[in-house]
């Protein structure tokens, strides 16, 4: 046993270097693996650091949301304009004076004609809303409440309550009509209604269209949540500005088109439509027992023209209804017609526009500037169908026609602030069956109204 000891030692000694070599080789492989891991981790760390750096750079470079306060309202918008909310306002305080009205039939009065806080907005670029409560008048109401989806510039969908696309002057903003009050022609078109509408601009804005389906309202009426009946009205309008791109041409600002509506109505209760003068006094109303029963339709050719400081609008409207004097009465088709032409000229040289006059210089006495002045004139006429008398309306207490002449002066102190001074004279015509002296006191003489307005619109 002892003899073997040197031999074993020799073998052990011989094997040690080999074992050391193997161990060294294994260590080197481990080291390489570790080095690769460290490099990989280092690369990952660099990537993470760079990603963080890029995020920080992007955050630093990202433009902040935009806040704008100007004569178009208060706007809060995201940096890319994809989302925004705008608050606007409209306040109109009127003074109404009536002359030679046979002893104060209509009260001379101050009237808060309109008081609105308008909220509008857009989300994710293509989805919009509008909410317009009305605080003026005797009660609070919601005038407009609608949602829009912009599919393309040529197709936008609107859902909710908004203006029916028929009357030219009615579709114009309440703030920027030539006169304080829209003409008597507007009596024949539907006002705001609940429905769904498609609209858009085509051919680089040379043609616009609206087409929709609505609950359906009578002449001059606005919809509540309660529909008259199960039937629906269809309304549409096409309006062309064919020479829009013809810069410098006298016809560049000429737009024309036609609008219309068609539907059926069958009302269980009375038909509320009544027609008012420029001074907002009623000169025609159907008897309380009248019910609509059958087709109704309207057709409204219209034009707008702007050339520098000069502007003009015109429209002709035919409104036809089928109705019965009472639920059991004989049905008749009644056709009422109206037309108007109105024009304005900005004396101080600014452009006439559907969107109001923007003074070159705001009213500022200390700077010797006075804003912009515009003179306006209008003639309008409305004729009620002869067949309406006496079964559908009393000839004794209603006029069968009204002719209105208006002149006015608009003083724009700034884009958002204006005084408007309008004088209206309305003459009435009567059915052959009417008595010599109308039983309605306001119809015994012409209406002579002087309406002054102080307006804040932004």
């Amino acid at each position: 046993m002892k003899r073997n000891l040197p031999f074993k030692f020799a073998v052990f000694a011989a094997l040690v270097p080999f074992a050391a070599l193997r161990a060294e080789s294994a260590d080197r492989a481990d080291l390489e693996a570790l080095r690769a891991q460290v490099q990989q981790l280092e690369q990952q760390l660099k990537v993470l650091s760079r990603q963080l750096e890029i995020k920080e750079e992007a955050a630093a470079a990202a433009p902040p949301p935009k806040i704008t306060l100007n004569d178009k309202g208060f706007t809060l918008a995201s940096a890319d304009n994809a989302n925004w909310i705008k608050l606007r306002g409209l306040v109109q305080l009127d003074s109404r004076l009536f002359f030679n009205d046979g002893g104060g039939i209509a009260n001379n009065a101050f009237v808060l004609r309109r008081a609105r806080i308008i909220s509008e907005g857009q989300f994710a670029k293509n989805f919009g809303f509008q909410l317009v409560p009305e605080f003026g008048g005797s009660s609070i109401s919601v005038l407009d409440a609608n949602l829009t989806v912009a599919v393309t510039p040529g197709l936008q969908l609107k859902f909710g309550k908004f203006k029916t696309p028929v009357g030219l002057e009615l579709l114009q903003s309440d703030s920027w009509t030539f006169f304080n009050e829209r003409s008597i022609v507007t009596n024949l078109v539907p006002n705001r209604d609940l429905g769904v509408q498609a609209s858009g601009d085509l051919f680089d804005g040379r043609l616009s269209y609206q087409a929709g389906v609505f609950n359906g309202v009578g002449d001059g009426g606005s919809s509540t949540n309660a529909d008259f009946d199960n039937e629906k009205d269809f309304a549409g309008r096409v309006f062309a500005t064919p020479f829009k791109q013809a810069a410098g041409s006298p016809v560049q600002g000429l737009s024309f088109g036609v609008a219309g509506s068609i539907g059926r109505e069958k009302t269980a209760a009375g038909r509320a439509s009544s027609y008012r003068t420029d001074g907002q006094q009623t000169f025609f109303t159907y008897n309380a027992a009248v019910v609509a029963d059958g087709e109704n339709w309207r057709i409204a050719p219209q034009f707008d023209y702007r050339l520098g400081s000069f502007g003009a609008i015109g429209e002709y409207i035919v409104s036809t209804i089928n109705a019965r004097p009472s639920a059991a009465g004989a049905k008749a088709e009644l056709q009422n017609k109206a037309w108007q032409i109105a024009a304005g000229y900005v004396l101080t040289g600014e452009d006439s526009s559907l969107n109001g006059v923007v003074p070159r210089n705001n009213f500022d006495p200390s700077a010797g500037t006075w804003g912009a002045f515009e003179v306006v004139g209008r003639y309008a006429r409305l004729d009620v169908d002869d067949a309406a008398f006496p079964a559908f309306a009393s000839a004794a207490s209603n006029a069968d026609s009204a002719r209105s002449l208006g002149v006015g002066l608009n003083w724009y102190l700034a884009k958002a602030v204006a005084f408007k001074f309008d004088y209206y004279q309305t003459k009435f015509g009567f059915n052959a069956a009417a008595p010599a002296v109308s039983t309605a006191q306001i119809l015994r003489q012409d209406e002579n109204a002087f309406i002054t307005r102080f307006q804040l619109a932004f």
């Binding site: 660099k46 990537v47 760079r50 890029i54 750079e57 940096a79 890319d80």
Partner: protein, 332 residues
Amino acid sequence: MKIKSLALAALVFVPAALSLAKTIDLLNVSYDPTRELYVDYNKAFAAHWKAQTGDTVNIKTTHGGSGKQARSVIDGLGADVVTLALAADVDALYEFAKLVPQDWQKRLPNNSAPYTSTIVFLVRKGNPKGIKDWDDLVKPGVGVVTPNPKTSGGARWNYLAAWAYALKKNNGGEDAAKKFVAALYKNVPVLDSGARGSTTTFVQREIGDVAISWENEAFLALKEFGKEKFEIVVPSLSILAEPTVTVVDKVAKKHGTEAVAKAYLEYLYSDEGQEIAARNFYRPRNETIVAKYAARFPQLNLVTIDDTFGGWAKAQKTHFADGGTFDQIYLK
């Protein structure tokens, strides 16, 4: 008497003429890698304009991802001229804001692209991963640096060059091309918003094994950071990149800079303008200058956006619009 009259006239007219000279501000909104080019060019043009008209023109140039820059102009950045990475970004100025006419590209020679470039690879010295062609970029473990095609014009050229290679390799197979490009973007660890950011990622932050780069940007990296650190690899196929320029009519009209803006872009086609472009590693259009710098720019097989992709409008819609091919492959 005659000399006195001349002296008098000089006394009157020279100051008068001097007083008529104007100082004009001009804003050029450009894309990421043109910083050095327009530093040189702006100096040259200002001197040229001064000599021609006596007016002083102060030219400011902003840089960023081409798509992002176009969006800024649409949102109201008052650019008198734009010099962007590709026609689609200039088209957007017409499409979304009508700032330029629809036919803007016909107003200057060569489709309003006064210089061109192409897409190459920038690798680390010694090319440790053996990158030779596009196929090497989709191999596992290869880190590829390229910017975000949503914001960077250069990135869109990179993407389309890869797509064109895959199309050719697969005999026009769109599905195979899509898979190839998807595999390539799986190897992209960081998406910068512009080409210059990408260069920073690769060169300074030492991320990735290969950067897909504008040729001019790759040459610049070699010049700035040393040939001992980086190499350029020219792939077997690439794309002819045509950066385009135009006057932003609505803005220039408002600023009263129409004449100088037009002259600014036209001068890019002059001998001096072309020489400056070539010096800054852009491929010039002028044949004489092309010949002079022939050794600098390698010959390679180039496809065009029109021939392979049907033009920018179609390529933009197919690949880079929301929901387009890039969104599909990158979101996956």
